[in-house]
Symmetry: C2
Subunit: 412 residues, 2 copies
């Protein structure tokens, strides 16, 4: 019998308890021993529910119980999650967490603490929910140098962009819908501003580089400025707007970014709709491999946590923690990265405006929507962010142009 | 230093040698030791090429060299692959193979031989080429009972069906094109009749059930009868024809099948085009997870072989072989499985023909193509293969109907 404790009986925590119960026999067969939850830490008592008898309110009780070898942290947030996880690892208990905020902020330190104390620290559920992306990177695609990762890492925003695309709705209306369906929180900032994707990108970038990529360094732009008109242009160009997370190793260094991108049909990520998540991995030998599944939700996320618990139970005393070093990796400035952008030009003199665009950006193809809305758009040739932004600014001084809108990055 | 030998210096074998050379440093870091190819078994000499000095023509030389701990079999076919692999395992050497024919025919026996001799037998590359599907099933999705697997497991046929769909071409023309591009072999039987997919399905079905599923038992239908007109109907219905491999656990038993299916847009497999492969896995907790990538090609396939070599090098002396038992699993007859089919009806009296269809199949929606081609089609309501085939036969006796064509399975 291997004893475990679950910290936090919310969506994920209750899912972990449920899976360990419902799939007990298969899991026992895979581990060689039964895994039993001895404690569930929560502020609430859950009176009358079966979990009641496992509930404790004091973390020290768990910490001091030598029977407990594995702790699943699913409280979320940095405090007290960080101090609980740290103490658990220091006392030699293995930990798994679904908490991307914790992993993005303290991953390297906790990895080191685990290794120093004969414990393991795993966090499969912190990126991509039920998609086994971290384990695939570390245990499956081992013959390759991973050169690039891109993905749709946030289900809420993907659901919203899919709705905007399929139903021609405005951002605000879709947000309300997503909130009423429970896909978006009352305060949606974390999702819609890209902060959630940013933390997951930091974790992926750290894994493929082996060094600490700080999430604060990753250029992050959410979807709050995406309008119905942007979506219409994307459609007209045969693409879809997706909130893409990217990290790439280049000869000059590593760059990482979270922002809306007009993906084209050739990119398999463009087919990933609704609340689904997906990660496209590029290796120097295997070429492209994509992983797709539910990035959130009780049982899919808990499935990933339980797969960590199983690995830890099978490897008590041996080091299977993977991750990255504490030394920080300085990533490239977004200004130096080459991009194309969809640039929308509001004109008061169409001919003059087009003329200015051609003069500044070269011979680009102009796109107009069906209804005459006093603007046209074009995709800029690939060049550094710095250059394209400079040129966008100079457009504003041109005769015939009243405003320049949008500027969403676009795949070629 | 861990010494390996490669059997067969064809596409995959030469890729294995190339990856071990090009990614030597990363691989050394991951294993903790360098992996070195000591022998390459081939009938040819490769005079003047760097591989020449590794070439041997006699397998016994490899077998008797105690330095060689790992053998990568990439000769293909059953003989002499089977006897070489068997002998290698019996002498305690670990083996990895990309040979689905070998694994489908002798997998259970070779798994047992490996375990009995302290060796490992891995075969990641035998299904899905570079996609790490077997390892994901065994090492990643461990919290789940896998209930269903469906996939596009053959790149040649997927390329052909994609071309037929995108360019409105007939089967014969597309086959010629695929042959000229090297995607299809001169004798394409193995791919186009579904035999290749069938063997891969047997491997996947054996893994998710833990018992031996014989490939001979799996109902297999290729794409040779798919016509331009079938594709047009599929398009009109908003679907795509894909050669789908399926295996599912039900309360009554396990069924498995390889056949063309009209997939609908909600199925993520419908977005997998060209030579790409993809496997959709359904677990009882994680819901749907999809894996996508290159199912063939030198480096992607070799990448999977090398990931096996790495695992074997890291685990010399410990048992990491996963697979299935030798006892055979009797699968359900295809006749008992529920399906919908696209049924094309050639008529000499349209009204009478429609009337007969409604009488026999109930109130179904009829689809007609733009040009009047003397036929209409409909999707039958879901019922057993036995029933739907019986009804199709009875259609042939009806007034107004001159022929019944097609009958491709369709998703609801």
């Amino acid at each position: 019998m291997v004893y475990a404790a679950v910290l936090g009986y919310g969506t994920v925590g209750s899912g972990v308890v449920e899976i360990l119960e419902r799939n007990r026999e298969i899991i026992k067969k895979r581990v060689g021993e039964e895994i039993k939850v001895k404690y569930v830490l929560d502020l609430r008592d859950f009176e009358g529910q079966p979990v009641q008898e496992l509930i404790v309110h004091d973390f020290d009780l768990i910490l001091k119980d030598d029977d407990v070898k594995i702790i699943a942290e699913s409280m979320g947030g940095l405090n007290p999650a960080y101090s609980f996880v740290k103490k658990a690892l220091e006392s030699g208990k293995s930990v798994t967490t679904s908490n991307k905020e914790l992993v993005a902020a303290y991953g390297a330190e906790l990895i080191k603490t685990a290794k120093a104390n004969g414990a393991n620290f795993l966090f499969e559920a912190s990126v991509g929910g039920g998609i086994p992306i971290l384990r695939s990177l570390n245990q499956c695609l081992t013959a390759d140098e991973i050169t690039q990762i891109s993905g749709i890492l946030n289900g809420t925003t993907n659901y919203m962009l899919t709705k905007m695309t399929d139903e021609g709705l405005e951002y605000d209306d879709v947000l309300k819908q997503a909130q009423s369906m429970g896909y978006a929180e009352k305060d949606p900032t974390n999702d819609v501003e890209g902060y959630d994707s940013c933390r997951k990108t930091a974790i992926l970038a750290s894994i493929i580089t082996g060094k600490r990529v700080d999430y604060e360094d990753i250029y992050t732009e959410g979807i709050t400025n995406i309008s119905k008109t942007d979506i219409e242009y994307a459609k007209k160009l045969g693409g879809k707007i997706k909130l893409l997370a990217c990290a790439e190793k280049t000869d000059n260094g590593v760059w990482a970014r979270v922002c809306p991108v007009i993906t084209n049909k050739k990119n398999p990520l463009s087919t990933v709709d609704d609340v689904f998540n997906s990660v496209l991995v590029e290796g120097n030998m295997v070429d492209k491999v994509m992983f797709y599944g539910r990035g959130a939700g009780k049982l899919p996320t808990a499935s990933a946590v339980v797969s960590d618990i199983i690995d830890e139970a099978k490897n008590l005393g041996s080091d299977i923690t993977f991750g990255w070093q504490e030394d920080k990796l300085d990533i490239l400035s977004i200004d130096d990265i080459s991009v194309s952008k969809l640039i929308r030009v509001e004109y008061n003199d169409k001919a003059k405006a087009k003329d200015a665009v051609m003069r500044i950006f070269g011979d680009v193809a102009v796109t107009e929507l069906e209804e005459d809305n006093g603007e046209f758009a074009f995709i800029s040739p690939k060049q550094t962010e710095r250059n394209v932004n400079k040129k966008i600014n100079s457009l504003l001084n041109e005769d015939g142009i009243s405003n320049v809108l949008g500027a969403i990055r676009a795949e070629n």
